[in-house]
């Protein structure tokens, strides 16, 4: 019998999404993707539901994951960041978001939230990536519109912005 057809008592978990605490009831078969969308975080997209397209990428305790492959019961006590929570203090766009706008990276925009979250994670691990390293970093996020050139441009530009910002903080 498929998991979702079994009679499993409803579970309750505590998670933090974009610095907001949630105490939510979930069903055993619910994915993190479905849970986030149910909580109103609609930037997290159903692209394939099999972990192949990256449109549902979020940061789970700082690491990028395909939220369609994570079951909600697995994330009890976790901290999640989606693109809705990326803007600083909810207003000032994150440098990666700014760079995506300036370079014209988004076309239809459906892959963009997941792509941005992957880029944020990439730049936190490798603040000064080569174009090749960027291409490898976003290999799990499919974009059908752009051919990736302006996406790589955007992440390159964001790296520079972040570097300049951090240099400013040091002074």
């Amino acid at each position: 019998m498929p998991l979702h057809e079994r009679q499993v008592p409803d579970l309750k978990i505590k998670i933090s999404v974009n610095d907001r605490a949630f105490d939510v009831e979930i069903s055993a078969g619910e994915t993190l993707l479905d849970l986030l969308r149910r909580l109103g975080f609609k930037s997290v997209k159903h692209g394939c539901d099999t972990g192949n397209c990256g449109a549902c990428t979020v940061l789970l305790d700082g690491r990028p994951v395909a939220s369609c492959l994570i079951l909600a019961p697995q994330v009890d006590g976790s901290t999640i960041l989606t693109v809705e929570g990326l803007a600083i203090c909810g207003k000032q766009l994150h440098p990666v978001q700014e760079a995506f706008i300036e370079t014209g990276a988004p076309q239809c925009g459906f892959c963009t939230p997941g792509m941005i979250m992957t880029a944020v994670s990439l730049l936190s691990e490798n603040p000064d990536p080569t174009r090749d390293e960027i291409r490898h970093g976003i290999a799990g996020n499919i974009c059908r519109c752009s051919g990736y050139v302006k996406v790589v441009d955007a992440i390159e530009s964001a790296a520079k912005k972040l570097c300049d910002r951090d240099a400013g903080h040091d002074e």
């Binding site: 979702h4 057809e5 975080f41 609609k42 930037s43 997290v44 997209k45 159903h46 692209g47 394939c48 539901d49 099999t50 192949n52 397209c53 449109a55 989606t82 693109v83 809705e84 803007a87 766009l93 978001q97 995506f100 706008i101 300036e102 370079t103 014209g104 988004p106 076309q107 239809c108 925009g109 459906f110 892959c111 963009t112 939230p113 941005i116 174009r131 960027i134 291409r135 490898h136 976003i138 290999a139 799990g140 996020n141 499919i142 974009c143 059908r144 519109c145 752009s146 051919g147 990736y148 050139v149 302006k150 996406v151 790589v152």
Partner: protein, 771 residues
């Protein structure tokens, strides 16, 4: 024509009007807006490629708590229609009904279950008991038209099928001059056949829609569509309700590429809302996208070309055998376009085009970026390369000798229109020479030994292909635009044109802003809502910037004239001949009144009025853009793997309204072309079931599979286009595959005539040739 130096908003690299919302993850796609409590409709899909439904037992499904409704073919109106979103009457056969007693492909609709939620609807589907009479299957177009093949459309009420008894959905035959006579006069004749395969759009957002009844009992359909007005008309007809009772809203769309120029869900979703009175949501999951979305027509393309001794083409014949799958959506017009887009590229006094379009029990073909042209150009540009090599001529010189040029007429355009006769066309602008120059210089070829591996097991070479496309569908496309003035000198731009991620909202707003002398931020774009935006055929045929753009420019000019009257009034006697200078009305004495001041006064001056103007545009013109693609490939002789090392595409697009967005169109098209050539292929079992219906197994190019694709814009200032535009959205996908084929030939001496060039296929060809 406008002097480019005078432009303030057009020709600028401005951010897309929706970019801010996109990067913030705004809930602006269809599935983000589904009302709470909407019922979920799930279609039970056929496991058989060809079968008659003998009975469907629904009781067990109906007993599931939460299942509200189960419908089969016995419960719904039977109105044959086409899912192709085209002008009325559609040139595609009416061979589809909402639910049928026969299934014609794996994934065809069998029944629908409506439930309180997705899981319950799925459970209901699993409990339906269907008794099928399984029928023989045909999968290849050439087999389908042979005598004795299983007849796929044996129903009696379909309309517009060319010859259902022979599985022929459509047939096209046109001739200019006398091709047989041309062949008899030729010094040499070459004939080659090429074959192209099944691929899919793979929009990141799958098809999705929801519908509900509003407080006036009108049916509202919110859908990810390229064609909201065609959706309204077709849903009305199929459900037998007046058009006036339906409102179609198109939110932001997560990619289209032609796949959403189809009514795949809306007919049934609307029916379920009418039936239940409740909001209903329907979507395709990714595997359903592959099984029952739309695809690019597989074709066999044969070229036969007669030449004089000096390499001048005097007769050119193109014969196509196309596979439309189980239904004939775009079945006549895509194969028509295969000929009409590619044959005119090379001048010849004698031209003939013949296409047969067969039904099979495989996924349904339809509109897909390029609309038949990539199939035709894979044949044509491989064939021309083959001829040049056979003649011992330089492939570029051979093409230059025969290519169409500025001032030439295109005789095929007059004979071959949108499923009927077309319109004569003269090439007013052609920047192909410059395109070739730019793209060839950008891909000089490395010729280097790839590091670390013995050079003789990896070969590199450069190849190229050229092409032309169209701009809109002449005599068919029509677009409206309405512009409404606000008190602060901002303007509402209401357009039926549908931005599918192409950036059309932005470029149309840039045009309006330019004409009105205001900034892009002063234009508030709204697209598309059949209740409040004017008609537009929709986003297809590379038409929006040219056709909808002209409507926008004309509406903006009318509004500017009305505001000028207000300014004249304000200036009184000293107005004289009024000029317009970037937002200012200027009197002969030099007095200046800004558009924004005139706007405010139009509401609160002496003569109070709401200034709003509409315009609509259609044309029989179809100026062709031109494109050259140069590519360097590397072939691994041990594995057969082909890698694109370097690639450039240069396009004469007339004028780029927004160069950044135009480059995005070019690079995206080239990426799609590389996928078509190298990695994407829908494969099927002997019983017609797709074997790789997931993004794990169907290989769309990822970032690591592509080089930095180079894009070049060539501006020729087309006199018939607004601000000189032609088109850019489709053309660059047309010539990628033949450019790669020609490069592989240059590297290995092996000619590949069957797409895609997967390692297995390439390795077999290399072995056969003894390379």
């Amino acid at each position: 024509m406008t002097n480019k130096a005078d432009l303030r908003v057009v020709s600028r690299r401005l951010p897309k009007v929706d970019a801010g919302a996109i990067v913030k993850g705004a809930p602006h796609y269809t599935l983000d807006m589904v009302p709470a409590g909407a019922l979920y409709a799930k279609v039970l899909r056929s496991p058989h490629a060809h079968a008659r439904i003998k009975s469907i037992e629904c009781d067990r499904a109906m007993d599931v708590p939460g299942v509200m409704l189960v419908l089969t073919h016995e419960d719904v109106p039977r109105v044959p229609f086409t899912t192709a979103g085209q002008n009325f009457p559609e040139p595609s056969p009416y061979d589809t009904v909402m639910l049928d007693n026969k299934v014609r492909l794996v994934g065809d609709r069998v029944a629908v279950v409506v439930a309180t939620d997705e899981l319950t609807a799925e459970r209901g589907c699993k409990l339906l008991e269907v008794d099928y009479e399984v029928l023989p299957v045909v999968m290849d177009a050439r087999d389908a038209i042979r005598e004795g093949a299983p007849i796929i459309h044996d129903e009696t009420d379909s309309q517009g099928i060319h010859d259902a008894g022979s599985n022929l959905a459509a047939r096209v035959e046109v001739e200019v001059g006398d091709v047989e006579k041309g062949f008899s006069q030729a010094d040499q004749v070459f004939e080659h056949t090429y074959s192209v395969h099944y691929v899919q759009h793979v929009t990141m957002e799958p098809h999705v829609c929801f519908s509900y009844l509003d407080s006036s009992n009108r049916l509202v359909i919110v859908t990810a569509t390229q064609v909201p007005f065609h959706v309204r008309r077709i849903v009305a007809r199929v459900n037998q309700v007046p058009i006036s009772r339906i409102r179609v809203i198109k939110p932001r769309i997560g990619g289209g590429f032609g796949g959403k120029q189809e009514i795949i869900l809306e007919d049934l979703c609307a029916h379920l809302t009418l039936r239940t009175g409740k909001p209903v949501v329907m979507e395709l999951k990714r595997d359903e996208e592959f099984y029952c979305g739309r695809t690019r027509h597989p074709q066999y393309v044969t070229f036969k070309t007669g030449l004089t001794r000096d390499g001048t083409i005097i007769a050119n014949e193109m014969r196509v055998m196309a596979n439309t799958g189980a239904y004939g959506s775009h079945g006549l017009t895509v194969p028509s376009n295969t000929g009409s887009k590619s044959l005119p590229l090379y001048k010849s006094p004698n031209l003939r085009y013949v296409a047969d379009v067969a039904y099979t029990n495989l996924p349904v073909a339809g509109a897909m970026r390029g609309y038949g042209a990539p199939q035709g150009y894979f044949g044509l540009e491989s064939h021309m390369d083959e001829i040049a090599h056979s003649l011992g001529m330089d492939p570029l010189e051979f093409r230059r000798k025969n290519l169409v040029k500025q001032g030439d007429t295109d005789p095929i355009a007059a004979k071959l229109g949108e499923g009927k006769e077309g319109f004569e066309r003269t090439i007013r602008t052609c920047g192909l020479d410059e395109c070739i120059e730019l793209a060839s210089r950008a891909v000089p070829g490395s010729g280097d030994t790839p590091s670390g591996i013995p050079y003789d097991r990896k070969k590199r070479a450069v190849g190229f292909a050229v092409c032309m496309h169209g701009t809109g569908i002449p005599g068919d496309d029509m677009a409206g635009a309405t512009i409404k003035v606000n008190e602060d000198g901002s303007f509402n731009l209401l357009i039926g044109a549908t931005d599918l991620g192409t950036g059309s909202d932005t470029v149309l707003a840039q045009m309006a802003a330019e004409v009105l002398g205001v900034g892009l931020e002063d234009i508030i774009v709204y697209s598309s809502d059949t209740d409040s935006t004017p008609f537009d055929v929709g986003a297809y045929g590379s038409s929006t910037t040219y056709v909808s753009g002209t409507a926008v420019v004309q509406a903006a000019e009318k509004v500017r004239e009305r505001l000028k009257e207000v300014a004249l009034e304000l200036m009184g006697d000293d107005a004289g001949d009024m000029g317009f200078d970037h937002g200012f009305f200027v009197s002969s004495s030099g007095r200046r009144i800004h558009v924004k001041e005139a706007a405010l006064k139009s509401f609160y001056g002496e003569d109070k009025q709401q200034i709003a103007e509409s315009a609509s545009f259609m044309t029989v013109d179809c100026p062709p853009p031109f494109c050259a693609c140069f590519v360097e490939v590397e072939i691994d002789l041990d594995t057969g793997r082909v890698r694109v090392i370097d690639i450039a595409s240069a396009v004469d697009l007339g004028r780029a309204i927004n160069p950044t967005l135009a480059e995005g169109q070019i690079v995206g098209s080239v990426a799609m072309g590389i996928g078509y050539a190298l990695s994407e292929e829908m494969t099927f079992s002997d019983s017609g079931k797709m074997l790789n219906a997931s993004l794990m197994d169907y290989k769309v190019p990822a970032s690591v599979d592509l080089p930095d694709i180079k894009a070049f814009l060539v501006e020729t200032d087309e006199p018939s286009g607004p601000f000189g535009v032609k088109s850019v959205g489709e053309i660059c996908v047309d010539n990628v595959a033949p450019a790669i084929a020609n490069a592989i030939y240059n590297a290995t001496g092996v000619r590949l005539r069957q797409l895609p060039f997967t390692p297995e296929r390439v390795l077999n060809a290399l072995k056969e040739a003894g390379v």
